[in-house]
């Protein structure tokens, strides 16, 4: 039963979807504060290369090496978030342009391949990886075993993270302020909320998550590093945030859906089903556009739309 199509699909969906989930949660925090960051792909690649480098060069026990490596990847993502924040919040540069510059900076003809080459990482085999953990020996349970109880620590962490972000955004005072800043920075400012500080904080933390998402490629998925290895995952994570309408729970569902869809073609082919996999892949995007159109009217926009101030620099008015 555990070799059945559905279980296999879910397992591979989670495998493909986990980096998307973590990166999208990071982007969600940033976008909720009103800062659009198109630099995900570059930040993930930087996280992948830095995490791998640190894990290869670190001595000490495995858990320490992996923790420090993940931290390094988060740190580099945070720094890139800081650069983006400085450009768009302090200097009020165009968010689209700055984000794309981050993609180029970290991208496969940019700093990530530079560092990979300098560190000579391309030829190395990874020394440390997050292995799958069989929780309480339940991994062989029919159906849910491989899906819920036989995953790597990163996957479990991503579940905790999803819950934490959801709790933070909707159930804490800071999360309430965050939403206000992304919706209506003028009103938030008038109520004494420091708009710039909130935007910086969430762009930075978001960046750190994106960096760690990149590191999950080199530390959990494949035990090596290659140039441009995220292969567009950053872009998909970006779409995912929109698809999920800026809600952490939907991000989780969406990430696995994207993961399932991207492995669906292979799985279907193996089983002799002939449907174009691109159709499945395109569905989430088409659906997103349709929903974006549907919520264009004022009524629905208030319920489901993007943060109102997304992409708009905030400048305090002076009478």
């Amino acid at each position: 039963m555990n070799d059945g199509l559905v279980v296999q699909l879910l397992v591979s969906g989670i495998a493909f979807g986990t980096p998307l989930l973590i990166a999208a949660l990071g982007e969600l925090l940033s976008e909720r504060s009103g800062v659009l960051n198109l630099g995900l792909e570059g930040m993930m690649l930087m996280g992948a290369v830095c995490g791998f480098w640190v894990s290869q060069r670190m001595g000490g026990p495995e858990w320490l090496a992996l923790t420090v490596a993940l931290g390094a990847a988060g740190g580099v993502g945070l720094l890139m978030g800081l650069l983006h924040g400085f450009m768009t919040i302090t200097l009020r540069a165009n968010q689209i342009v700055s984000g794309l510059a981050l993609t180029i900076l970290g991208g496969s003809i940019g700093l990530s391949s530079y560092l990979g080459q300098v560190g000579g990482l391309g030829d190395e085999r990874g020394r440390h990886t997050f292995e799958k953990i069989d929780v309480l020996g339940l991994g062989d349970l029919p159906g849910i075993g491989p899906v819920l109880f036989h995953q790597s620590l990163i996957v479990y962490l991503s579940w905790v993270l999803t819950a934490a972000v959801a709790y933070y955004v909707f159930r804490t005072r800071a999360g309430q302020h965050l939403r206000a800043v992304g919706e209506d920075p003028r009103a938030a400012d008038a109520m004494g909320i420091d708009v710039a500080r909130y935007r910086y904080a969430h762009t930075l933390v978001g960046g750190a998550l994106v960096g760690m998402a990149g590191a999950s490629y080199t530390l959990a998925i494949t035990p090596n590093w290659s140039d441009g290895m995220t292969a567009g995952a950053g872009w998909i994570a970006l779409a995912l945030v929109i698809f999920a309408f800026w809600r952490p729970g939907f991000v989780l569902i969406g990430a696995y859906l994207f993961g399932v869809v991207s492995s669906l073609g292979f799985n279907l082919q193996v089983r002799g089903v002939d449907l174009p996999p691109e159709l499945f892949s395109a569905l989430p995007y088409l659906l997103t556009v349709v929903v974006l159109v549907v919520v264009s009217n004022a009524w629905a926009k208030h319920r489901f739309g993007a943060p109102d101030a997304l992409g708009v620099p905030y400048v305090r008015e002076e009478a």
């Binding site: 909707f170 159930r171 005072r173 800071a174 309430q176 209506d184 009103a187 008038a190 004022a298 009478a319």
Partner: protein, 498 residues
Amino acid sequence: MTKRFPNVLANEQVDFEVRSGEIHALLGENGSGKSTLCKVLTGFYWPDEGSVSVGGNETRFRSPADAHAAGVFMVHQHFSLVARMSVAENVVLGWSRERNFRFDRRKVEAEVAAVAEEFDIQVDPQLPVWQLSVGERQRIEILKALYRGARILILDEPTAVLTPQEVEGLFNSLRKLAAAGSSIVFISHKLHEVLEVCDRVTVLRQGRNAGQIDLRGERNVDGRELARMMVGRDIQLTRRSRERPPRESVVLRLVDVAANNDFDREVVKGVSLEVRSGEIVGVAGVAGNGQRELAEAIAGLRRPTRGSIELGGGALPPGDPRAAIEGGLAYVPEDRTGVGLAAGLRVDENLALKAVRGGDCSVGPFVHGGRVRQRATELLEAFDVRGRPDTLVRQLSGGNAQKVLLARELSSGPKLLLIASPTRGLDVSAMEAVRQLVVSAADAGVAVLMISEDLDEVLDLSDRVAVMCDGRVTGILDAERADTEEIGMLMMGQAVPA
């Protein structure tokens, strides 16, 4: 207290005091320094001289948060509400009585409901703000201040956006709050409201104190006295010569025109009016009585909900600015550099804004740059504007910007000049120049419809005065025979005794 800005002295040695438990009106025309004073009171601005004291202690507010801590709150005309959040969420936004990490929706809702109950304000804390009417939103703003422990509440023209019923409700709440010991500063330029609800009134004129009156004293104060204090002017400006050519054909005819404001509330309620060529018709009235929406409806920027607008004999299609322009409309809007002029573009480009389409400054699909500059040079000369064709409009002074706007509009050879608040915020010399331009346009045969809150201006320049109140024309008078008293009554919507 004195506050200076580059170029302007916004407040000069203004004294202002509010007692606890009173409703104190701050009265003045636009630009008289009311809002500057309030921004100093609430910590937005820093006074250059003088001081602010609350409860006897001198304070130095560095930010609105400091003012809030001292119990001073302002309810702005533009609300600071996040539309997608609930009433309760908005009330506690940025500050809450319990400073815990968790945000407990239920608890917050109960808390807000309790405060609303305490002050007798009716709201449903669970509703998202975007579903509320303007009046309800205003109540939430007040509730927000009360929740935070407001002792002094400053309301900036609170009735501008309300229906008469909502105004009544607001006044009741204010009376209750004052009776409970709060101080309320009521900013307005609507005389009858001030008379109705306030205990004392301080009048500002051109940044200075123009007087303070106790309305609950023995002496019976009426609107006329306040109006004189508000607008009293001692400089003699251009007046319309009363020997004018005989009136000719009707250029603008409005029949039962009605229009809604931005909040979908009917604020123009069936206006009928005619303007003949060579005639200046002044529209007098307190701001916010539908004048702005009426102007926008004539200019095609706002779609009337009923009625017809005829310009030069032909009916204008509703909501079509281009048709109005082609029909011979020149429009000088109230918002000069937000609607009338593109602030980030050069003067010559702004002067060519409409001529480019007409063909005066274009050849086929191309703009004729030489002619644009040539035309600009001529117009700047003719209208005595200090500025070069390549100056950005943003860099012009208010007076020069208004002259550029008039230069463009009058140079198109219009049949009708529609001009709103022609001299608001201008210095005396620019004011005089603009008045002369308006008068000479009429002398040249243009029909002029002038909307202004400045009653003296309306009386000085107009042939006929139409008074608007609550979206209706309450009377049309011959300017020569009209007296301020009569107009004042009409402005307040009262019938003129026969």
